[in-house]
Amino acid sequence: MGTVNPVGNNVDETWAALCAGKSGIAPISKFDAGNSATKIAGELKGFDPLAYVDKKELRRLDEFIIYALACADMAMKDSRLVIDQGNTERVGTIVGTGIGGLTTIEREHTVLEQSGPRRLSPFTIPAVLPNLAAGQISIRYRAKGPISCPVTACAAGTSAIGMAFRLIKDGYADAMIAGGVEAAISRFGVAGFNAMRALSTRNDEPEKASRPFDRDRDGFVMGEGGGILILEELQGARGRGAKIYAEVCGFGCTADAYHMAAPPPGHEGAARSMEVALKSCVMDPATVGYINAHGTATPLNDVYETQAIKRVFGEHSKKLAVSSTKSMTGHLLGGAGGLEAIVAIKAILEGVVPPTINLDNPDEGCDLDYVPHRAKQMDIEAALSNTFGFGGVNAVLAFRKFRD
């Protein structure tokens, strides 16, 4: 597993920060947010791109691709998977993102307007296209198996892992490098979400701005980075003595078919995707102990997601721990599914549920155990990761404790 995100530049740092309830939200430094309604975001801190790419690559790759290469580097080293002549065609890459190279689009568009078309960098298109995160990873590791890039907005990372899981299950690959990344904290990105009134404007208290399930929430806070997993078919993994963190056992994907951005009351599409994820691995809902919620802290999501969880789990929902780590990391958009899969897996491994911070007063209609303020110890047999994207996309992954 590998991740870069607003609270850590690797898995261990991230997990420690989340369990300690640390926030990665601060005033925006990537650009002058003076005339922006939202002046806060979750940016990476102390991330050194030259640890993962050389100076030439630094110039020609958009940040989202660099983040993907960093996550893949850590995940590949962690897994010690060797890709060589013997298995090169059996290892694939699926890395999702919401928008790909947004900052490159902005920068080169300015060049176009100010200096004309001849001055555009020849690397503009390869830096902008969303599938180049998967592309550059597959080039670096010579992964010649299936390759793709789901662009399902805030569900992209989950979609990627889910698709990779199914490809292995159906025999098209033995291993997959899969996850999601995003680097959209830019003038255009922030302005675009502000125009929809989707972002928190609690600029004077950045660490308190992301308040999932809280009565005083006022929208999500943008984050950047993501996460990548190395998925492997079990026999092969056992055969090479791989370190196995958890079993990916189910994936559910459904559409709301309702509104381009808002979920319907009850969010039945989300409920169905949780049900599909559980059914696809024949898992009794009562086996699930933890749900890493989508929990964006928008007025609608948090209440409707709660309703959807109750529909799926019935009485058992009272025993669930449901936390939104977006309270600390912000919303990594296409990267959220990648990072949050890692969080769900770590929760199972460590027997600890990271908290939902800033939950001072749960909203009416938000009455589950969201693990407010402090992490809690809990023996977890199975966990879900929920992500719901604009366009009415619902994507859910189910993970189970691995026993040899």
Binding site: D54, K55, K56, R60, R118, R119, S121, P122, F123, P126
Partner: protein
């Protein structure tokens, strides 16, 4: 700074190679590890730095560092 020195400075920066590798006969693609897109970007940097324009046909003929230096000097009306 002479034209030769400026050209080498740009190449070192753009292609992430050392000064030592930048001998006049060094070929951009074969010796300095540039691909076709690197070459386009390199030529753009030359255009900006020297205030000249290099067409795509002319670009085809620039294969080595010496080619680039000779071409730029010609464009700037200097003897090579």
């Amino acid at each position: 700074m002479s034209i030769e020195e400026k050209v080498i400075e740009i190449i070192v920066e753009q292609l992430d190679v050392t000064r030592e590798e930048c001998v006049p006969e060094a070929a951009f693609i074969e010796d300095l590890g540039a691909d076709s897109l690197d070459l386009v970007e390199l030529i753009m940097a030359m255009e900006e730095n020297f205030g000249i324009e290099i067409s795509d046909e002319e670009l085809q003929k620039i294969r080595t560092i010496q080619d680039a230096i000779t071409y730029i000097k010609k464009k700037k009306g200097l003897a090579s």
